[in-house]
Structures are given as C-alpha cells and as structure tokens.
Symmetry: C2
Subunit: 267 residues, 2 copies
Amino acid sequence: MSRRTITGFSNPTVKFVRSLRDKKHRKREQRFLAEGLRLLTDARAGGRLPEILLMAQGREAHPLLSDLESAVSAAGGDVIELPVDILAKVTGKDNPQAVAGVFAEWDTGLAQIDRQSAPLWLVAQAMRDPGNLGTMLRTADAVGAGGLILIDDCVDPFSVEAVRASMGAIFTQRLAQARWDEFLPWLRTGAGQLVAASLRDAVPYRGAPYAGPCFVMVGNESRGLPEDYELACDLRVTMPMKGRADSLNAAVAGAVLAYEVLASLES
Amino acid sequence: MSRRTITGFSNPTVKFVRSLRDKKHRKREQRFLAEGLRLLTDARAGGRLPEILLMAQGREAHPLLSDLESAVSAAGGDVIELPVDILAKVTGKDNPQAVAGVFAEWDTGLAQIDRQSAPLWLVAQAMRDPGNLGTMLRTADAVGAGGLILIDDCVDPFSVEAVRASMGAIFTQRLAQARWDEFLPWLRTGAGQLVAASLRDAVPYRGAPYAGPCFVMVGNESRGLPEDYELACDLRVTMPMKGRADSLNAAVAGAVLAYEVLASLES
C-alpha cells in the first residue's frame, strides 16, 4: 500500500484537485471532487472508487477509511496525505472533512435510465441552484426513486455544492442529462406517467391517479416549467398555496409531490 | 417627493447598506437588506416600508415601484438612485434586482406568536443554512402556517440569503427566536401539539393523529434534534426512508411533514 505526502500549496496534484471546483476544468478533465468519509463510503457502495484519495494529516483513524485506502491503492489510485490547511484550500471549506476524493465522471445519457427498475423518478428542468439539485438527489434516494433526470440547462450535478447537498446520493442514484426534445420522445417509447405541479387544468395532488413508473417533474426556480412542457404532462396536479406566494422552493415542491406519489403507489 | 442620486462607491450610505451583509453590522444597526420589487411589495403588504429605498438607474418603470417610492418618501424615508454596478456591489449579486430596501428589524420574541391564529406552525432547531431557513419561511406561507419559531443557535433570519430564499415570507410570516428552555415552557402554557420526525417510538407520518395548533419541528442539518427534544414531543412520526440515507434535507422534511399535517387538519 503506497501513500505519498504533499506539503506545499503549489504541488501540481493540489492545483489539479483545486481546479475541479470550476466547471470549466471539471468538463475538460471529466473529474469531480467529493468530500467526507460518509460520501466516499457511499460512493464505494455504489461501485465507485476515487482515483485520488486525499486524507488530512492528524485525522482520526477509522476502519472504513483504512478499507477505502486499501481499495484505492489496490485499484492503482493515488493516496495522498496532506496538511489540513491545504485540504481546506482544495475543497474551499474552512472546516474541511478529513477526507476527499477525486472521481471520474460517468455517462449521464438517457440510456442510463432503466425506467422499469423503479416506480418513481424525479425530473428537474433548468434547475440552477446546486443545493436544490443535490437535495433532489437526496430526496430521490429517500423515496426509493430510481434517479434524477436533468432537462435542459441545469447546473452541473458534479459541482462541489451539488455533490455535498446530495449527501452521497449522487453515487447511488441514476443520473441523466438530456434536452427536452430528447427526453420526451424517449419517455414515449415506453410506459411512464409524466407529472408536474401546475395551475392549468390540474387536479388536487392528494388522491390524484398516479401510476408507476411515475416521472415527477419540477421546473426552473424562477420561471417554473414552460407551458408546453406542462401541457405535455400526463397528469397536472395542484398543491395548496394558502399564503401570498404562488410557489414553493423547487426541491421542496418535488419532495412533497414525490412523497405523495410514493404513498399512492404503495397503497 | 424627494430623491437623491449617489454615484460613488465611497458614499457613506452605500457603505452602510453594504455593511448590512455582515451579521455583526446587522445586529448593531438592527437593520437588514431585502432585494427585488416582489419582496419589497410583499413587505409593504405586510405593513413594512424600507427606511432606505435603493433604485438602479436605467430600471424599467413599474407602477408598484412608483407607489412604493411615494410611500417611502411620505414616511420620511430615504429614496436613492444609483448606478447598477454600485447596487450590485451593495447587494453582492452580479445581476442585482433593480430595487433594494433597508428595513428595520423587528421584535422576534415569543410574544409575537399568537398560537391560536393559525392551525400550524413551523419550528426549526439550530438551523445553520440560510437557504434552508428562508425556504422554511416560504413553506410556512404556502401551507398557511402562522410562522416560524427558531430554537437555539440558528442562522440569522435577516441575512441576505435567508431573506432572498424566503421569497418575501420573512415579511408576511410571524417569526420568533427563543432558547429551547424558553420555548418549551411557553408551549406548555397553552394548547399546542409538538411534532417531529423521529425514529424513537414513532408512528407513520401518514394518518398520524395531528391536532392544531400543531408545531412541526425539524432539527439541525447535521445532527438532527437532541434526544431530549424528541422525547418532549407530543407526537413522533416516521417518514419512509427507502434509500441508503436516513434523513432528508431539513427544509424538505419540514415541508413534507407540514403538507401532511395540513391535509390531516383539513380532512
């Protein structure tokens, strides 16, 4: 088991890892960064090992971390020890987790989605906030969804913030990215009920006739879904809005709807 | 109607407003910043006018903004026009809204909460993320809750990020801040069912015996609720967790639970 120590901010590996905080570099390198033993353990359970494992000096020993280090070494990965202040600089957090890993991105084509493998899928259209996107992945995990399909121009799901907010679900959920004009024809090649919250000709979200595989779609944080996307849905539902506002946070709306679908499909 | 124009970054009012992005300055000045015509209109509807109204040069005219300007002037407030790049600097956003306002903070003692005025209240304990806190306020508005009670060491609800995420609900929802050992005795002076998601001796969240006024409590993003807080609840409920993770984003959990309580109380 080989392990090397880095002590300088100007080390090329440190610079490389740090550069992955920028989308431009992530896209070029097809690599991304995830922090924390919990996430890295979820990644391993999901069949993904980091190519580079970064461990802070002075960290507490942990059997899961020892296992992970062995696995990364055995797979020919790079295991690095470094001072905690350099790790903080790399991950951009003042109080960094004691471990971080660099992972290869994977194919996020629609072919990744086996619609019959789960009763429920989440769909986000033009979602711009990485926290919301990560939260959708986390919710997808919780409701037993198969994964998350990103439509049109969404924020990068491999951004540090999205990965962090996913709490590991980025590694365990299926993830696809597609344009609407790819997604809709793909959806119509098989069974699949497309559902969205809407005010157009909609039925109450409680007790609506949900059917699996059910695709729960939420729209952009500011603009919501385009009208033609709503009209293409098989089911439009309304959720109570009792206050002054006419909408919920997008990740919240998706979650409330997804839990309702889950309860309906299981009853 | 008086209006003055500011053209320099070093103007004392610009510096003052900008300083309100720091909690320390907000606390000292008891003032905070809100952006956007929508939020400022909600504020006015909630009975709150900005003491300082900032308007970008070159903005589009809007009757609501004209009304607002008149109202601020009439109330003796300060109406300022300034270049959009200075407004961007003040609010810390690259694409700032065309208007922003400085508001006086208000009393957030528990005396603000008239529990009988709404069937449902949200409670957040040690919530650290301003986006989550703002989202809770927005959800509270949507479910027709009376407001949000912040327990223990929460992030500042008057932070720019929390105000932004609340989408105006900061102005229309009741807001209280209290220590747990103030809140619990206060709660017990009257009717009020304290509910939390929990794994301890809990019943399924669907069909649980909710009763208004119902106080839906969520815990800290990392640690959840302390055990004794959970044990003090009148009702502990479980939500399905079908994946690898054992929890949801705190604002999401609060929203799913709140919508369930709403449906239960209305049925």
